[in-house]
Assembly symmetry: C2
């Protein structure tokens, strides 16, 4: 029987309660698919700051190193926002994990589920046009990590600077990830850049073109980041895979997430070249609704499905979870934020949604 080990980092806010539902689903997967998914919980984020003195304690990092994948909840909240930037949960834990494990390939799917179109902030005809985008974001380079970064000078001429930087190798590996994904989807990659202004973007475009030659069945086109934010609003159905640098992918993936109107449904994967990955919901820790049992666990559960698919190659189990989620949505077992205001009283709780998904499995 195949056996895998998972580091479970539930984190802050709604993290723990949605993670509990993901664990239920993984328990069900163990039985149904005859695998062992050993899970060990580790502290991370604000909770780890409070209990261990830092956002990413060394035992947590060690636990992650020993696991086959990290299932991540969410971190951060007002309580830790006044800490110096470098100690804050997002930076100290999330950016450090990305860079420590070289998790360069970030996949952020965003789709509008049939029946949930009215949640989208977009006009009905656009929301109903069949929106299903996968943002492939480079996650360990670009202006997030480029050196030098700093401050110099005096008085009014004092200046701050950051370096946007990409090597051919870094661009090539994320471009390959995008083309591979497109082959399994609708065969189209749209590369997002600002090649009319940035030298980095010109190299980006060059390498995207080179990689495209190895994928004759995938169509490649290019779009400027400013135009991309417009087209996502006007006609999101035109996009299949969007290939983005770190900063542009941050922007594009969040706009795509919002466009669906249902952040609580969106998972994400961050992987390295060895298939090790960190899997987390696209939304945040939502401290305002934490602890009430009303948070949507689906993004966490779909993140677990991505983990089974990408880090464990358990495609059947991943497919089964994804189908069970769709069936749950179709059955109308929905948390409050997915319901119109006048139907909120019929909302399912976090654990009811988890139970229904297990049942549908």
């Amino acid at each position: 029987m195949s056996q895998y080990s998972i580091a479970v980092l539930a984190g802050d806010g709604i993290g723990p309660e949605v993670m509990q539902e993901a664990n239920k689903v993984l328990d069900a997967v163990e039985k149904k698919f005859n695998v062992t998914l050993n899970r060990t919980a580790y502290p991370v984020g604000g909770y780890a700051i409070d209990t261990e003195g830092e956002a990413l304690p060394s035992k947590t990092l060690l636990g992650c190193e020993q696991a086959d994948a990290i299932l991540f909840g969410s971190i951060g909240g007002p309580k830790w926002d006044t800490l110096p930037l470098e100690q804050r949960p997002e930076r100290a834990a999330l950016l450090t994990l990305r860079s420590h494990f070289d998790l360069f390939s970030n996949l952020r799917p965003a789709r509008i589920y049939p029946g949930l179109e009215s949640l989208s902030p977009l006009r009905e005809d656009i929301a109903k046009s069949g929106v299903d985008v996968l943002v492939v974001r480079e996650l360990t380079s670009g202006i997030y990590f480029g050196q030098p970064k700093g401050r110099e000078g005096e008085g009014e001429e004092e200046f701050a600077y950051d370096t946007m930087r990409y090597s051919k190798r870094e661009i090539r590996r994320i471009a390959i990830a995008a083309f591979e994904a497109a082959q399994k989807r609708r065969g189209k990659v749209t590369s997002v850049d600002k090649a009319n202004v940035l030298v980095t973007s010109r190299l980006w475009r060059e390498i995207a073109e080179e990689v495209a030659k190895d994928y004759p069945d995938v169509e490649l086109d290019h779009i400027y980041i400013d135009n991309a934010t417009m087209q996502i609003m006007k006609n999101p159905a035109q996009f299949d895979v969007m290939l983005c640098s770190n900063l542009f992918g941050d922007i594009v993936s969040d706009e795509c997430a919002m466009m669906t109107g249902s952040m609580g449904l969106l998972p994400s994967a961050s992987m390295n070249e060895e298939g090790f990955g960190l899997y987390e919901p696209a939304g945040g820790s939502a401290p305002d609704i934490a602890g009430q049992g009303i948070a949507n666990p689906i993004a966490q559960i779909l993140s677990a499905a991505m983990m089974l698919r990408f880090s464990m190659n358990l495609n059947d189990a991943a497919d089964a979870i994804e189908k069970a989620v769709v069936a749950t949505l179709e059955a109308g077992v929905l948390t409050g934020e997915l319901l119109p205001a006048d139907k909120r009283s019929q909302a399912a709780s976090t654990s009811q949604v988890g139970d229904e998904i297990v049942k549908q499995l």
Copy 2:
């Protein structure tokens, strides 16, 4: 009688035909407000490449230097897209003009006009929530112009880099522009940054806070660029003035423009510290519809109004044009793209819209 001189750079695509309507309106302003607006036309963009061999001929630059303001049409088109980047209309003419005249302050208003809500790609309730945003974008620094920029190294480790850079002085002057604008509007500035990742953004935030102290009547808050692209979709009415760096302003202003669904109505102003400015429509040269007399001249006409207001202090004339535009929209004299598909046969031509605005004046 006051007298002003204007360098008129109509450019490519729909530029010349919409400029003709702006000229009609300025003729009417001369009579009604007893001013002289001397206009001299100069070649720019693709047209200048074809006729003079470069996108910004020296006589054009000289003409601009001698004028009180530049009224700009639009430039570029497929014909010139294969030129080396540095020679292309956008870079060779537009970025050069911005930097030559130190046009650091870019104002891009975006509003959804009552009655035109159905053009917006946003859901009806959002489009009707009273959307009226002014994006204040820094236009002569940041990653567009920061040095060094280049390529180095060999093989797969060859890398490209760009520098994002802002001095205190550069941030302060654009922040002041945003606060001044907010005082004349609804008293709120939202500063857009990525301070959780970029050192430049941290300095940006610091200076925005400093400047805010001099404007106790204006409220300041901060938003990350990724969240900004989400909020513009979800609840654009929350924004009054959005203060942005060059790159973030490029992205935010285009998303705001698209959100209105009527790019043909949106003007822009790019000014320096002396009040000299370049005024141009937010949309592009639209080569696909050029020469057919169907382009909307309103963005060009409102750009002329901004010119009268900011470079000539002719506020009454500017107000009068803006009112005449609203009256024209209300009278239903609309170009085709503002009409539902089944009413396009009743569309007004470019010159009919210009005539109506003159009449309303």
